[in-house]
């Protein structure tokens, strides 16, 4: 729900911003991070689920004492989740936020 009624000019304004070089750069940097990363962690997780279903022998191999590959694989899912979250936070605050902030500030100045 938008509170302002979109007039012709504001519609054009959004389209112009969308076409702008800065915005396209932001969009490209964002999408080229989040989409491949999503595919990567999803496949990595799916591999874990499929191994749990179909590769029982492999998963039950003991490594140290009673600790087997299944447990280590599970803990690696924790590690990869923490790592991706940390990496995304770093990437977005360094690469995305400055561009987004500058576009927003320009738009807010223009709106006054």
């Amino acid at each position: 729900m938008t509170t302002e009624v979109p007039s012709e000019s504001s519609t054009e304004r959004y389209q112009n911003v969308q076409k702008s070089e800065d915005f396209q750069r932001l969009r490209h940097k964002l999408r080229s991070f989040i989409f491949p990363m999503t595919v990567a962690f999803f496949l990595w997780y799916l591999l874990y689920v499929l191994l749990s279903a179909y590769a029982r022998g492999f998963m039950s191999t003991k490594i140290v004492g009673n600790i087997n590959i299944a447990l280590i694989f599970g803990l690696l899912q924790f590690a990869s989740t923490f790592l991706i979250a940390w990496y995304y936070a770093r990437y977005s605050s360094r690469e995305l936020d400055p561009i987004a902030d500058s576009i927003r500030n320009k738009m807010e100045e223009g709106a006054e």
């Binding site: 938008t2 915005f23 962690f41 689920v49 179909y54 004492g65 009673n66 923490f82 738009m107």
Partner: protein, 556 residues
């Protein structure tokens, strides 16, 4: 069986203590709620807690909303009874947060206002899309609510020391369970209607803190018992379970090798289906999505998700110790004697640890009472969050935008939200009485499947697909929702198995317990078909959505 006899001996001490602790928690949180209600003046206060929460506060609140009875009671129970397979839930529930972090949280915060539908309806015709979103919000929330209430019922019969066949205050076990479910339902309605989002958020924060401390203490005691040797703990759990090293491997509960090849195939498909539903469900849960609106900016929304991933991740590591600890120190027999689905493993472990480390029966009773009070707090808080999200959607999406076409006053909208909370609570109470023999983690997985099928496709298409339109949104929501609900209805969960809601009837034809593997792709497919069949193509409005969602310009 030993801890079982002790449970009876110390039952009266436990009862008094638990009831006292529980009342203290209720008094504190009611105080917070009433205080919050005095500060709730506008609709933004009611729905979004005034958008003034910090990243850490909201991260705690997200964790509070997320670590439900399923996480604490359900997963611990599954690990205690089936070993490694229960851990699969912990992993799926955690990895799922990456979908929310990377694809949903920040964009939703930037482009929306109060509910999930704000983003779905952004560039669509308001009335049909908001109606659809409102219906799916309510359905997902009710599925989730059922799980919480079932957990509450299981918990109370442990606390009050009632087992099948015994009585409490003249009530038999079943009546006492029903009474608890009604009590929990009534309390949650008070939290939500009085406190709104601000009150509910503080309740979540208090609860998340209590739950983390409780789980940490129990994990620490289990590890002390095994001299911080994980391998010894696992070995003892495997030995006590009577299943040997199979207990530490996948396959006791999910993807079980069956007599025929077809049955084995279905069983393995069920595991994959569950895994997919767990990882894709989180970012479609209405009560989680509305949490992103309680912070001032999308950067803080991101921070709050990172906090939540940290807190929830650590908690799920604790569930390993809790589950295997319960298997080793309480034992599967004592657990199933109390609750067939294993929902009481964690509090039973607390009692066993209390007996060992805090001076015998009294110590056991005290620790049991504390952990049970924490579990109650957990359930109460999650139930409040769910009821708030679904009643908000009814009031803001359905009443204000569909019925009143945007002319309802804020005061009217909030009044309708409060009435809806009451009705939704009543429906959930009724349904949960039917589902009492199911494990709560499993029940929550059904809610995840419905959320991933009905909500996630529409959200992702809305945010990232220029061509997406009204027809696509409606097809995606109803297609995913109907296929998920229909498949559950004709699955062994509802009829045709010993633990079904209707164990004496059999109308099931769908072989899997979790519908995700079919219904989630169907949701995406329906959204695509609906879109390309319709000529509506509003690129101008998508320009606005994209600019706003990526930059935060014009955010509420």
């Amino acid at each position: 069986m030993e801890s079982h006899l002790l449970a009876e001996a110390s039952a009266s001490t436990t009862r008094g203590l638990t009831i006292t602790l529980f009342l203290i928690f209720v008094a504190i949180t009611l105080g917070i709620t009433i205080w919050a209600s005095r500060q709730t003046k506008t609709a933004t206060d009611y729905y979004a807690g005034g958008r003034q929460f910090s990243g850490f506060q909201n991260g705690m609140a997200i964790s509070g909303d997320y670590m439900s009875a399923a996480s604490f009671l359900g997963i611990a129970g599954l690990i205690a009874l089936y070993g490694y397979d229960g851990f699969l839930y912990s992993i799926g529930f955690l990895v799922a947060w990456l979908v929310a972090l990377l694809l949903v949280a920040e964009f939703l915060r930037n482009a929306g206002r109060y509910t999930m539908a704000d983003v779905l309806a952004f560039r669509m015709r308001q009335r049909p899309v908001r109606s659809a979103a409102s219906i799916s919000t309510v359905v997902v929330s009710i599925f989730y609510l059922i799980a919480q209430m079932v957990g509450a019922g299981a918990l109370v019969s442990l606390l009050l020391g009632i087992k099948p066949g015994t009585t409490f205050l003249g009530m038999d076990a079943d009546t006492a369970k029903v009474a608890t479910i009604i009590l929990v339902g009534a309390l949650m309605i008070v939290y939500v209607t009085v406190g709104g989002m601000k009150g509910t958020t503080y309740v979540q924060i208090v609860k998340a803190f209590m739950l983390m401390i409780g789980a940490l203490v129990m994990t620490f005691l289990v590890l002390v018992h095994y001299k911080f040797n994980l391998s010894t703990l696992l070995g003892d759990a495997a030995a006590q379970s009577g299943k040997g090293s199979a207990f530490l491997e996948p396959g006791l509960r999910y993807g079980v090798e069956k007599a025929t090849a077809t049955e084995t195939f279905y069983s393995k498909m069920d595991l994959v289906s569950l895994g997919i539903a767990l990882v894709l469900g989180t970012a479609g849960l209405p009560h989680i999505l509305t949490r992103f609106y309680t912070v001032p900016t999308s950067k803080i929304a991101r921070k709050s998700v990172i906090w939540a991933i940290g807190i929830i991740g650590v908690f799920y590591l604790f569930t390993l110790a809790l589950g295997f600890g319960a298997a080793a120190l309480v034992g599967g027999k004592a657990i199933t004697a109390q609750d067939k689905a294993g929902n009481t493993a964690a509090p039973q472990l607390a009692q066993a640890l209390g007996i060992k480390y805090f001076g015998g029966d009294t110590g056991g009773a005290i620790l049991l009472a504390i952990i049970a009070a924490v579990a109650f707090a957990t359930i109460l808080a999650v139930v409040a969050g769910l009821t708030l999200a679904s009643s908000s959607s009814v009031a803001h999406d359905f009443y204000a935008n569909v019925i009143k076409k945007g002319t309802a006053s804020e005061r009217d909208e909030v009044r309708v939200a409060r009435i809806s909370a009451l009705v939704i609570g009543a429906v959930a109470i009724f349904l949960s009485i039917l589902a009492q023999s199911q494990n709560v983690a499993f029940l929550v997985a059904l809610a995840f499947a419905v959320a991933a099928s009905a909500n996630l496709p529409a959200i992702l298409y809305s945010l990232f697909w220029k061509r997406f339109n009204t027809a696509g949104a409606i097809w995606a929501i109803y297609g995913g929702l109907i296929s998920a609900v229909v498949l559950v209805f004709f699955s062994p969960v509802v009829s045709g198995s010993a633990t079904a809601m209707f164990p004496d009837s059999d109308w099931h034809w769908f072989p899997l317990n979790n519908p995700g593997i079919i219904s989630i792709p169907l949701g995406f497919l329906c959204g695509w078909i609906g879109t390309v069949l319709s000529k509506e193509d509003d690129t101008a409005k998508y320009a606005e959505l994209e600019v706003r969602s990526l930059t935060g310009y014009g955010a509420h």
